[in-house]
Amino acid sequence: MSGHTDMVLVNEEGIRIDGRKVDEKRNIKIEAGVLKNASGSCYLEIGKNKVLCAVYGPRECRPRHLQNPTKAIIQCKYNMQAYSVTDRKRPGTDRRSVEISKLISEALEAVVQTELYPRASIDIYIEILQANAGTRCAGLTAASVALADAGIPMRDLVPAIACGKADGNVLLDLNKEEDNYGQADVPIAIVPSTDEIVLLQMDGNMTREELDHGLDMAFKAAHEVYDVQRAALKKRYSDISKKEGDSVE
């Protein structure tokens, strides 16, 4: 939001530098069940973002003082890998990743039926392999698919997407240039069956009209992301049953 550029982010025809229209999200690809050791996992690409997520648990909560006698706790660790950005990211947690991990954990607490697993921990590891703006949304979208892949009971999946503003245009799903040189970024995650908001942040500068318009686009797009999430899970389970069918023959 702070950088400056002479680059035209949205041209007169309303086309963005990557060829998208203002209300068009990037291509999204989701695959469930990609890691052997994890209880559940997911690989997700949206535009140039590449994200891998693993879920371990429900399992014994450590450290034990974090245990909740009435329900499971969700512990998410969001991590950007060293080579995921142009300038090497120094490995380890920083303040940004602590905040994002907290927000993603909270967003998922709203849908996971944690009361089924008292004292347990559900551990979610989100690794950003390649970053191009929108990684917290990509990570959360992947995490809810990985949770479902792990067979953990949930009220619903949680699709996430950002809206924002660049060159004075309200945009859906900002890419890196639009995020760096634009005027606002609003990541949002919803529960599609009820349209509740479980994650919401904003930075930049938007009027009420711009914000409402952006949110309309983001809600619609989140439902489309939801369709891709569900398709990935359906494919995962049809693959499993196919395999089982083969072994019977």
Binding site: V98, S101, L103, E106, A110, I197, M202, N205, R208
Partner: protein, 244 residues
């Protein structure tokens, strides 16, 4: 909860009523700016330290702002000593975002020699007494401390005289909590303890939105959001009048 459905709160406030705000600036002489803020019984201190430093390569002519928040054990029995907790980090980052994204500080005017030397502004906020809504208390303290700050040009031999902090606007955050189906402004400790979700909305002088942060393990509806946005604009105006 029964009280709330009648539009009343345990301390007698309206659902959209902010507690009494008291601001005292210039309380720490060793700091370049400072403010001690009371929001009801919640009390915080913000101090500004300003020193010469090197600019970031991608912004050679811009001063640098850094915000930290500490939830020290002095302020509440639930706060533990040690490095900043998740809560403290989130708090500092939300306050930072409001100040940064509103362009409150004109960082171009904090340049000493382009590409070589700029002013580094450290905003450090300490909770002194916690009774809910540290987000708004810390925002107020940071904003008031910045407004009262003096950039030490002369002291460091970088100019003829010390100058006031170049401030362009007054970003004000308004935090609400959701309890049952109600949204209450400026929650106290007890209200925060039973709430399911939190939303902080920061506006600038003309009522544009500059930062938002939803927290908590529950959800909010689009209608809730709309109410919070309306209230943030309205209450932001009231608070700007109070702090001047």
């Amino acid at each position: 909860m029964n009280l709330l459905s009648d539009g009343r709160r345990e301390d007698g406030r309206q659902l959209d009523e902010v507690r009494k705000i008291q601001v005292e600036t210039g309380v720490i002489e060793s700091a370049e700016g400072s403010a001690r803020v009371k929001l009801g019984e919640t009390e915080v201190m913000a101090g500004i330290k300003i020193i010469p430093g090197t600019p970031y390569p991608d912004a050679p002519g811009d001063g640098v702002l850094t915000t930290g928040a500490e939830l020290i054990p002095l302020a509440h029995e639930s706060f533990e000593p040690g490095p900043p907790s998740e809560d403290a980090i989130e708090l500092a980052r939300v306050v930072d975002r409001g100040i940064r994204e509103s362009g409150m500080v004109d960082v171009k005017k904090l340049c000493i020699t382009e590409g070589e030397e700029i002013w580094m502004v450290f905003i450090d906020i300490y909770a002194l007494n916690y009774d809910g809504n540290l987000f708004d208390a810390c925002n107020l303290a940071a904003v008031c401390a910045l407004k009262s700050a003096i950039v030490p040009w002369k002291q460091y031999g970088k100019g003829e005289e010390d100058l006031p902090m170049p401030v362009t606007c007054t970003p004000i955050s308004v935090t609400e909590c959701k309890i049952g189906n109600d949204l209450i402004v400026d929650p106290n400790f007890n209200e925060e303890a039973i709430s399911t979700a939190r939303l902080t909305v920061t506006t600038d002088d003309i009522g544009n939105f500059r930062a938002m942060q939803k927290g908590g393990k529950g959800s909010i509806t689009r209608g809730d959001l709309s109410l919070c946005l309306d209230r943030a604009v309205e209450i932001g105006k009231q608070i700007r009048k109070i702090i001047g």
